[in-house]
C-alpha cells in the first residue's frame, strides 16, 4: 500500500474521530442541560432534603405556682429516642443495632416499629419516650452507625408525686377526636398529631394558657446526620405561667391529714369571701407524672380497673348522702321564710311519728325541749323532722339550691357532676309519681334521695359562712404571659341572697357550739379561733346495699364521715368540707383532719412555725357523744335497693 493511501486513511479516520468526539461532547452537554436546567428544580429539592432537616422544638408548658409563688408544677427535660425512617438505609439493621443499646429485646423494638409502620415515613417512630441517660449515652456513642436514630430533648411535666393530682390533672398526646374537635389554640394554630395537651384538671381547663408555641429549627446535616449548622431557628415560646389560689402548705396539711387517717375521701377548702380554693384533694390519687411522657397501657388499665377508682375526682364527681350536714339548709329555709324564729322549741322524746310512720332521733332518751341553736349543736333529728315538715319540700329545695346544694359549683375543673336535692317536680319527671309528704321528713336530715358532691358542700358552708353569697370556687389567681403577673378576675357568685342577721347569728351560734360546746365537732376545736362546723355521718349500707352481698368487708360498709366548717365564727376567712369515706362518725376523722388544716392555715397567717404532720402515735379523739345515727328508713330508699338494718359498731 502506498504511503499516500496510508496518509489518506489516517486523515479520513481522524476526521471520523473528530466528528465522533464532537458528537459525544454534544451529547454530554445536552445531558447536563437536562439535569441542570430542565430538571433543576427536582434535584434542587432533593439536595435540600438531603442536607436539611427540620427539628421540632417543643415548647415547655407554663409553670404553675401556688398563691405564694411556690412552684407546684414545673418541667424537666426528658429525652426521647426515635427512628427517622426517611433516613433509614436498612430498618432491620437499625433495629438490630439499636435494641441492645437501649437494653431492649429486639422483638420489643420491632413490635413498636410494626405498630407504626403504616404511618407516613416522615413521622419518626418513637421507641423510648423518657429515655435514661445511659440509653442516651449509648445511642449517642454509636450515632455514626445510626444516622436515622434521633434523640430529642423534650420538656416534660413534673409534679410533686401525687400532690393535688386531681386538681392539676395530667397531660397527654392529643387524640384524633380532639384534633377533629374545634379546639383551637390561642395562637390560632390547630392542634396537630403529637401535640401534648392537658387531658384533665387545671392542665385541661387552662390548656390554652399553659400550652406554649412549639418552635422549629432547620439545620444542615452531613451525610451521616451530624448537624453542621443551623439555618433558621424559630424559638419555642413557653406557655403562660399560672398562679393558683392554692396554698401549698394548707394543701400539704390536708393531704397529710388524709394519710394520717388512712382513709379515702375528698376535701375542698375555700376562702368563703371570694371562692378561692385554698386546698383541694381527692384520695386515692394517681401519679400524674406517669402520664407526663405517655402512660403505659398496663398502668392505664390498672388505674381504670382499680376498685378504689383513683382516676375519679371524688371532690367534684362523687355523690354522697350529706347526712346531718344538711340540717343547716332546713334551718336557713325555716328562718329566712319566717316560719320559725331561732327560739322556736321542739320537744324531742327520742322519736316522733309523721304521717303514721315512726322516725327516730339518734338519742334514745331524746333531747327534751330544744331550740334551733341547740338542735344544731346536738344534731337533734326530731327538731329537724318537725321544722322540715313545717317548711315543706319546695322551700327546702329552694334554699338548699341557693346555698349551692344539688347544683354544679362552677369550679374551673372539667366534668363536674351535679348533686341532687329532690323536689316534687324532679320526682314527677323522674318517676311520674307525686311527692309524698313523708319523704320530706327524711330529706330534712339529709337522707333519702339527697346527694351532694364535696365541692358543693364547700360552697354550701361558705354561703352559710358569708351570709348568702354563693361564691364560685376557682383556682386561677393570676396569669403571667411574659409581661408580669396580671390578676385573673374572680368569677362572679352563682347567686347572692342577703340572709337576715338573726339567721346568720343563730346558725353560726349553733355551728360554734358543735365545735366548742357539747357538740360532736370538738375534734377540730382550736383555742381562740372560734372554729365552727358540723359533723355528718351518712350510712352507706342503704345505698350500696347490693354490694354487701358481694362479700365486701365491713370497712367498705362503714358510714361516710363529713365535716363542714368555717373559721373564725365572725368574718370567716376559711371554710370547707372534709369528707372521709367509710371512716364512721364525722367527728372521728373528718374533724381532726380539719383541725390540722386549720392549725396550719392560722400558723401560716401568724407567721408561726407550721404544725408537724400528724403522726400515727396520736390516735384521733373519739367524739364526745354519738351523733347522726344511721337512719333506718322504713320502706324504700333512693336506689330502690332493700334496706338492710345495720347495727352501729
Amino acid at each position: 500500500m502506498a504511503v499516500g493511501e496510508d496518509r489518506r486513511t489516517v486523515a479520513i479516520r481522524l476526521s471520523v474521530l473528530q466528528v465522533l468526539i464532537a458528537l459525544l461532547f454534544s451529547v454530554l452537554a445536552v445531558s447536563f442541560w437536562v439535569l441542570q436546567v430542565a430538571q433543576h428544580e427536582t434535584y434542587a429539592e432533593l439536595a435540600e432534603n438531603n442536607n436539611q432537616r427540620t427539628l421540632a422544638l417543643r415548647a415547655p408548658r407554663g409553670v404553675v405556682f401556688d398563691r405564694n409563688g411556690t412552684v407546684l408544677v414545673e418541667n424537666r427535660n426528658s429525652y426521647s429516642i426515635s427512628i427517622d425512617r426517611e433516613h433509614t438505609k436498612d430498618l432491620n439493621q437499625t433495629i438490630q443495632l439499636l435494641a441492645p443499646l437501649l437494653g431492649f429485646e429486639e422483638r420489643a423494638v420491632r413490635d413498636i416499629v410494626d405498630r407504626h409502620r403504616r404511618e407516613p415515613t416522615y413521622r419518626p417512630i418513637t421507641i423510648v419516650q423518657d429515655a435514661t441517660l445511659q440509653q442516651v449515652a449509648a445511642v449517642t456513642s454509636r450515632r455514626l452507625e445510626l444516622p436515622d436514630v434521633v434523640i430529642d430533648q423534650i420538656p416534660t411535666r413534673q409534679y410533686h408525686d401525687t400532690m393535688a393530682a386531681h386538681l392539676f390533672g395530667y397531660v397527654g398526646e392529643v387524640n384524633d377526636a380532639q384534633i377533629a374537635g374545634t379546639e383551637k389554640l390561642k395562637s390560632g394554630d390547630i392542634l396537630k398529631s403529637g401535640d401534648v395537651i392537658g387531658q384533665a384538671g387545671i392542665e385541661k381547663v387552662y390548656n390554652n394558657l399553659l400550652m406554649g408555641e412549639d418552635g422549629a429549627k432547620i439545620v444542615v446535616v452531613n451525610s451521616v446526620g451530624r448537624e453542621i449548622r443551623t439555618l433558621e431557628e424559630d424559638r419555642a415560646s413557653e406557655g403562660q405561667r399560672l398562679k393558683l389560689t392554692i396554698d401549698e402548705d394548707v394543701q400539704k396539711a390536708l393531704e397529710n391529714g388524709f394519710k394520717w387517717s388512712g382513709f379515702n375521701g375528698a376535701a375542698v377548702i375555700l376562702d368563703p369571701r371570694n371562692g378561692e380554693v385554698l386546698a383541694f384533694t381527692s384520695v386515692p390519687a394517681y401519679d400524674p407524672n406517669a402520664f407526663a411522657s405517655g402512660i403505659e397501657k398496663s398502668a392505664w388499665a390498672a388505674l381504670n380497673t382499680d376498685e378504689l377508682k383513683p382516676l375519679q375526682d371524688r371532690a367534684i364527681q362523687g355523690r354522697y348522702s350529706p347526712g346531718s350536714t344538711f340540717k343547716m339548709a332546713v334551718a336557713t329555709a325555716a328562718l329566712e321564710e319566717g316560719i320559725i324564729t331561732p327560739d322556736f322549741k321542739v320537744f324531742c322524746p327520742g322519736a316522733a311519728t309523721f304521717f303514721g310512720r315512726p322516725f327516730q332521733c339518734w338519742k334514745a332518751g331524746g333531747h327534751g325541749y330544744i331550740d334551733l341553736r341547740h338542735a344544731i349543736e346536738q344534731s337533734c333529728n326530731v327538731y329537724f323532722y318537725t321544722v322540715g315538715n313545717m317548711v315543706g319540700i319546695d322551700r327546702i329545695h329552694k334554699w338548699a339550691t341557693l346555698l349551692g346544694l344539688g347544683e354544679k359549683s362552677g369550679i374551673d375543673l372539667p366534668n363536674e357532676v351535679q348533686g341532687l336535692v329532690p323536689s316534687p317536680e324532679w320526682k314527677k319527671a323522674r318517676t311520674g309519681e307525686k311527692w309524698y309528704a313523708g319523704e320530706t321528713i327524711s330529706v330534712s336530715i339529709g337522707q333519702g334521695q339527697v346527694s351532694v358532691t364535696p365541692v358543693s358542700m364547700a360552697v354550701y358552708i361558705s354561703t352559710i359562712a358569708n351570709g348568702g353569697t354563693r361564691v364560685t370556687p376557682h383556682f386561677l389567681k393570676a396569669v403571667d404571659d411574659g409581661s408580669g403577673w396580671k390578676d385573673a378576675p374572680a368569677p362572679p357568685p352563682q347567686s347572692t341572697v342577703e340572709f337576715k342577721p338573726e339567721t346568720i347569728k343563730a346558725i353560726h351560734d349553733g355551728l360554734f357550739l358543735v365545735v366548742n360546746g357539747a357538740g360532736t365537732g370538738g375534734g377540730s376545736r382550736i383555742a381562740g379561733r372560734d372554729v365552727s362546723g358540723k359533723t355528718g355521718t351518712a350510712q352507706v349500707i342503704s345505698t350500696e346495699g347490693g354490694r354487701a352481698a358481694k362479700g365486701k368487708t365491713n370497712k367498705d360498709l362503714r358510714d361516710n364521715g363529713w365535716f363542714v366548717f368555717f373559721a373564725p365564727r365572725d368574718n370567716p376567712q376559711i371554710a370547707g368540707v372534709v369528707f372521709v369515706e367509710h371512716s364512721g362518725h364525722g367527728g372521728t376523722w373528718a374533724a381532726p383532719i380539719t383541725k390540722h388544716v386549720l392549725e396550719t392555715f392560722f400558723a401560716k397567717q401568724d407567721g408561726k412555725p407550721l404544725p408537724p404532720p400528724p403522726g400515727k402515735q396520736t390516735p384521733p379523739p373519739a367524739p364526745s357523744e354519738g351523733d347522726d345515727p344511721p337512719l333506718v328508713l322504713p320502706g324504700r330508699v333512693a336506689d330502690n335497693t332493700p334496706v338492710a338494718p345495720q347495727p352501729r359498731p
Binding site: D6, R7, L14, I21, F32, L35, Q36, N50, V224, I228
Partner: protein
C-alpha cells in the same frame, strides 16, 4: 535537543487549555477538601506539587524527539512490566488494592504510566508496518496490550486496566484496521460479556452495574453514589451554588468528591455554565490533539498521539458521564482535574509527547 526553532512550534494554546483544566481541578479540590470545621487539608497543595512535577515530566517528554522515545519503546515497555510485577508483589496496599509503590511518602502508581508505555510500544509496532494491519499484527498488538492490562486488573484496578483498551483500539483503527475486524471484535466483546459477568467481575463490580441499570433498587447502598451524583449535578442549576457553597460535596453526600466525582462538584458549584466551560476545554484539548495527529510528519507520530489521546478521551468521557450519574460508578479519575499525583504526572507527560509530535512536524 530543544532547538530555538522548535520552541516556536510548541502548541501554546493546547498547553494553556491543559493548564486551565489543572487550575480548575485545584480550585475544586480546594473547595471540597478544605473545610475549617474538619481536619485541615492540604490536598490542593499536594496537587499543585504534582502539577509542577508533571510539567517537568512534560518538558522531558517533549525535549527528546518522539522517534527516540519510540526506538527505546521496548525498554520502556519491559521496564513498565517489571514495575507492574514489582507492585504485584511488593506494592503498598490501600483501600483493598495493591496499586502503589511507596517512595518516601510519595505513592507512585505505575499503572498510570503504563498508558504511555503501551501507547509508545503500539505506535512503534504499528508504525513500522505498512498498510492495513494483518491478523497477526492485531494479535501481537493485542498481546502487548493484554499483558499490562492483566497485571493491572489483578491489582485489582479494573478501571485503569480498561483504559488500555482504547489505546489499542485507537492505534489499530488509525493504522487502517478493517471495519470488518472492528465488527468481529465488537461481536466477540458482546459474546464475552456474559462470561466476564459471571467469572471476570467481583461482586461489588456486578453490583455497580446492576444498580446502574436501576439505581432505585438499592437507593442507600450501591445506587447511593449514583443518585447522589445526579442530585449533585442537577441541583447546581444554570449558575451553580457558588464556589465552596455546594451542599452535596461539602457535606460529603458524595463520596471521594475531590477524586472520582470532582466534575460533579464543579457542576454543583459552577452550574451548567461551568460545565460548558470545562467540557469546552476538554473538547478543545482533544480536538487539538487530533489536529496534532493529523499534522504529524509520520504515521508513528499520529499513532503515538492517538494512543495517548485515546485513553485520555475515554477516561474523560467516562468520568464525566459517571459524575452525572449516567454511567456505573467506577474508580476512574478525571484526568487533569481529579486529585492524584501519578495520574497528573503521567497525563502531563503524555501531553508532552503530543506537543512533541506537533512541534517536530517539520523536522526530519
Amino acid at each position: 535537543m530543544l532547538e530555538r526553532r522548535l520552541y516556536f512550534h510548541i502548541d501554546w494554546a493546547l498547553l494553556l487549555a491543559i493548564l486551565a483544566l489543572c487550575g480548575l481541578g485545584v480550585a475544586m479540590i480546594y473547595s471540597t477538601t478544605s473545610d475549617p470545621t474538619r481536619d485541615v487539608s492540604r490536598l490542593h497543595i499536594t496537587q499543585m506539587y504534582a502539577i509542577v512535577i508533571g510539567l517537568i515530566a512534560m518538558v522531558v517528554t517533549l525535549s527528546l524527539d518522539y522517534r527516540t522515545f519510540a526506538d527505546k519503546s521496548h525498554f520502556v515497555y519491559i521496564g513498565m512490566l517489571a514495575l507492574l510485577l514489582y507492585v504485584m508483589f511488593f506494592g503498598t496496599v490501600q483501600m483493598g488494592a495493591r496499586r502503589w509503590i511507596s517512595l518516601n511518602g510519595f505513592n507512585l502508581q505505575p499503572s498510570e504510566f503504563a498508558k504511555i508505555g503501551v501507547a509508545l510500544v503500539l505506535a512503534k509496532f504499528f508504525g513500522e508496518n505498512r498498510g492495513t494491519p494483518a491478523w497477526t499484527d492485531l494479535a501481537i498488538g493485542g498481546v502487548l496490550t493484554i499483558l499490562p492490562l492483566a497485571l493491572i486488573a489483578k491489582e485489582p484496578d479494573l478501571g485503569t486496566a480498561v483504559t488500555l483498551l482504547p489505546i489499542f483500539g485507537g492505534v489499530a483503527f488509525l493504522a487502517g484496521m478493517r471495519m470488518r475486524v472492528l465488527g468481529v471484535l465488537a461481536v466477540c466483546l458482546l459474546l464475552a460479556a456474559p462470561v466476564a459477568w459471571r467469572f471476570g467481575l467481583k461482586d461489588y463490580q456486578r453490583a455497580r452495574i446492576s444498580t446502574f441499570l436501576d439505581p432505585s433498587q438499592d437507593a442507600k447502598g450501591a445506587g447511593y453514589q449514583q443518585i447522589q451524583a445526579r442530585i449533585t449535578v442537577g441541583s447546581g442549576g444554570l449558575a451553580g451554588k457558588g464556589f465552596r457553597h455546594g451542599t452535596q460535596g461539602q457535606l460529603r453526600f458524595l463520596p471521594v468528591a475531590h477524586n472520582d466525582f470532582i466534575f460533579s462538584v464543579l457542576a454543583e458549584e459552577q452550574g451548567f455554565a461551568g460545565v460548558l466551560a470545562a467540557l469546552g476545554l476538554y473538547l478543545f484539548v482533544i480536538l487539538r490533539g487530533l489536529e496534532a495527529a493529523r499534522l504529524s510528519k509520520d504515521r508513528l507520530g499520529s499513532y503515538l498521539v492517538l494512543g495517548v489521546l485515546a485513553s485520555f478521551t475515554f477516561q474523560v468521557v467516562y468520568n464525566i458521564t459517571m459524575s452525572a450519574g449516567l454511567a456505573p460508578v467506577k474508580g476512574l479519575t478525571l484526568p487533569l482535574m481529579s486529585y492524584g499525583g501519578s495520574s497528573m504526572i503521567a497525563t502531563l507527560a503524555g501531553f508532552g509527547l503530543i506537543l512533541n509530535v506537533r512541534m517536530r512536524r517539520f523536522t526530519n
